[in-house]
Amino acid sequence: MLIFEQSKANRFNRAQQPGEAVDLNKIPTEFRRQQSAEMPAVSELQAVRHYTRLSQKNFSIDTHFYPLGSCTMKYNPRACNSLAMQANFLGHHPLTPASHGQGFLQCVYELQEILKEATGMKGVSMQPMAGAQGEFAGLAMIRAYHDTRGDEGRTEILCPDAAHGTNPATAIMCGYTVCEIPTGDDGDVDLEALKAVVGPQTAGIMLTNPSTLGVFDRNIKEIANVVHAAGGLLYYDGANLNAILGKVKPGDMGFDVIHINLHKTFSTPHGGGGPGSGPVGVGERLLPFMPVPVVAKTDSNYRWLTEKDAPQSIGRLSANMGNSGIVLRAYIYARMLGREGMERVADYATLNANYLMVKLIEAGFEVALPERRATHEFIVTLKKLTKETGVSAMDVAKRLLDYGYHAPTTYFPLIVPECLLIEPTETESKEEIDGFVAALLAVKQEAYEDPDKVKSAPHTLPVKRLDDVRAARKPDLRWQATEKQKG
């Protein structure tokens, strides 16, 4: 039942209502809403029960192994939440003067420093509110850099064909055109193809390394040289930083600008889709262009730097300072890990992924790049299974749900057919991984023995397989009071 279907006219939740209905006497009637917005009218218990029950219909890290590739679904320490949700943090208006927010500002400043060290960059701004906005900030800085130098005509951004959809979408949003570069058979960027397209029109290249194929591009230095030689800059999509924390730094690989997904590597919650946080880090050249505000320290005093302090800045991308509460969580997490803990993250994320890959190969699965080391994730391709049984990667994903595992990422990257992108993360145990292997093997067997069972999965969830096509063909995006039907 929808909350609206539990609604009853004239039901009020008195505990949440100011007692007196004050008159809007100072507001002329022409400005006043004539009919109340249709909202649920439920008791507090009804609302609590409804959303408690709804929550139980979700898979989540706290309930299930969630090996969603590229998303780093690791344990979110509860302390990061409860410490960040203290009244003294939550109660601060963004206009609070720095004099009254030294505690918070210090946290932000120190996280900036930690991220600089972790990535080898020279400056970090917490402004972007997710990875994609970090990408935007990065490209905007690249644009500002070229513009400032009067280096016109750089209108194109290069992206590998395996890139995440946000990369080309961001390039367009930032006013660039996109040129796709193919991936070589070995999983690295096709260097010859890159050389063929790079040129005076190249503003820069966006790269994820390790790539979305779950391998570390071994030619990264050469790529950097090629692009830099052509006058372009290198953007690092930090979505996969978890794999290399403390092992290799984007700054050392030659990247000029990066973003970091705090909701991935730094374990802030994914929240059913967000909020994330996508700080950007820059090398020397782009320092003047960083988005504001950032926190600066003078003696032991912390303060915001704004447009006034950074006249070349690309400015702000949020009305305030980005997703502060998320930054706070990431800071707490970073302090708990400390330097050794961070290296261990990469160690065990990589160990888990390689172990899982080996176990799946043993179990007869085909991985996309068997000759390569997995990083923190890797790709299984089911094209053989699909051909032999008609069971698709999507079907397998759905059937896994019945076994109590969230599915890996499916059909991404787009260049591998019938693929599953699998990222176990470092916080999952060997037992959990072994269980997952067993489940995937069981599904494979079912695919041969009883393909319809797999194709019609899931069977044990709150709903059966949902009809996506119908949803898109006749969009029903909002409950209408007239229907009042049950379900």
Binding site: K26, R373, P458
Partner: protein, 452 residues
């Protein structure tokens, strides 16, 4: 190591299975020259006890001020149930509901949210969130440029009564695509845009007009006239509104003859704590016919194999993960958890609760202004009706006054002169339903004191 479950023995077994000697070997594809020399500058790890001590001490340092500021972020009562439910692990630690069948909790909630937000805005459809109010306005502008087939100009009329930071953000985002923002002056007497002043823009090609409601000064704009004017001139209308105000003020969908085309804004007033400015969330809603131009996630209702109702992410062909460079936006991770909280908030409040809250904010601000202008050297600036913010002018510079108020424990408001050169010595003040009458009185006294 915190959060890593492996025993030494398991690590050994796993390495064995992989066929390597040690974990280090797993990184052997990284060119040796690039290998990091460690993370020396990062402090050593803390256990939870230690980090709790540290963070509590930071928090204790920062006692919040009693808040008389708004300017885009508003302190409202948030029922305890909101965050007790929103931080349940099943909401907090799930991600974008790519596997719909395993995410019906989040999906149904988002569908309920879309319904609530559409209803509050009197629009046909809402998406499932953008980053914040400012970036939502930027997306609305991009959307309007795409959607207005009649306009070729890439020019937008932007009222200067829109939040200055919103205007900055919009500019920072859209100017990369060559979109130009033409700023409209407001009437310095009434603190709103006067339709008569727009004659100069008539007959020219603008893709859209952006109308705030209430505007940054807390004043109510003449949205009906503005909307009709814009539509007459073949512009789309983007309303950027405070959702709490919409409980009692004419919503965008009902502006003028046809209603605004796009409504967007900051969702923070609906159950989201101030939290140093974030995470908040942006909302955006539009008319049915523009739905395929809407950026961001959208949830749709459908049926399962048994014909039972269920919910899925839909219209994904607009999105970057499908359409890549042809997407309506690059947004991927949005502000899902904030929507969870906001949806629960609206359910607990109901229409009546929102209305009463809005009314009380209005009444408290009226009292606040009354008290403040009773002080010598304080006057109210604009004569347009206000919702829950108002501009006052002092007989002296604002900064020292705000400092004295901060010392007395108050956040006294927002100084306008930095953003509006003509508004020297002015202050934007606000009193929501959270401010007890006694607090308003005490603040006014402190204010009088600070002016001396």
């Amino acid at each position: 190591m915190p959060f890593i479950p492996h025993t030494e023995q398991e690590t050994a077994q796993m390495l064995d299975a992989i066929g390597v000697q040690n974990i280090e070997q797993l990184f052997d594809e990284i060119p040796q020259a690039l290998r990091a020399k460690g993370l020396g500058d990062i402090p050593a790890g803390l256990n939870e006890l230690e980090v709790t001590r540290l963070i509590n001490q930071r928090a204790r340092q920062d006692q919040p001020l009693i808040c008389f500021a708004g300017a885009g972020a508003y302190e409202h009562h948030i029922p305890a149930a909101v965050w007790e439910l929103a931080t349940r692990g099943e909401f907090y630690t799930a991600y974008t509901p790519y596997q719909a069948e395993a995410s019906q909790g989040t999906l149904q909630l988002l569908y309920e949210y879309q319904t609530m937000m559409s209803n509050l805005m009197a629009m046909d459809v809402s998406n499932a969130s953008l980053y914040d109010g400012a970036s939502a306005l930027a997306e609305a502008v991009l959307m309007a440029v795409r959607a207005n087939r009649k306009s070729k100009s890439k020019r937008i009329l932007m009222s200067t009564t829109v939040h200055p930071n919103y205007r900055r953000v919009v500019k920072n985002i859209v100017s990369n695509q060559g979109i130009e923002l033409v700023e409209l002056d407001y009437c310095t007497e009434c603190g709103q845009i006067v339709v008569d002043s727009l004659a100069q823009y008539e007959g020219k090609d603008y893709a859209a007009l952006v109308i705030p409601q209430p505007n940054f000064f807390g004043s109510l704009e003449q949205v009906d006239q503005l909307t009709d004017w814009a539509h007459r001139n073949e512009m789309l209308v983007i309303g950027v509104v405070n959702p709490m105000a919409m409980a009692v003020i004419v919503p965008p969908g009902e502006w003028g003859e046809q209603g605004a085309d796009i409504a967007c804004g900051e969702g923070q007033p609906l159950g989201i704590p101030l939290s140093w400015g974030g995470p908040f969330y942006g909302f955006i809603a539009c008319k049915q016919k523009q739905v395929r131009q809407l950026p961001g996630r959208i949830v749709g209702r459908t049926v399962d194999l048994d014909g039972m109702r269920g919910f899925v992410l839909t219209l994904q062909a607009r999105e970057q993960h499908i359409r890549r460079s042809k997407a309506t936006s690059n947004i991927c991770t949005n502000q899902g958890l904030m929507i969870t909280a906001s949806t629960i908030y609206m359910s607990l409040m109901g229409a009546e609760g929102l209305e009463r809250t809005a009314m009380l904010c209005h009444a408290n601000t009226a009292i606040l202004v009354e008290q403040l202008i009773a002080i010598d050297g304080v006057e109210k600036l604009f004569d347009a009706p206000c919702f829950h913010e108002a501009v006052i002018r002092l007989n002296q510079p604002v900064v020292p006054v705000l400092s004295k108020l901060a010392e007395a424990g108050y956040l006294g408001g927002f100084e306008l002169a930095d953003d509006y050169a003509e508004l020297n010595n002015t202050l934007l003040v606000c009193a929501t339903e959270m401010r007890h009458r006694d607090e308003i009185v005490a603040f006014s006294q402190a204010f009088a004191q600070a002016l001396r």
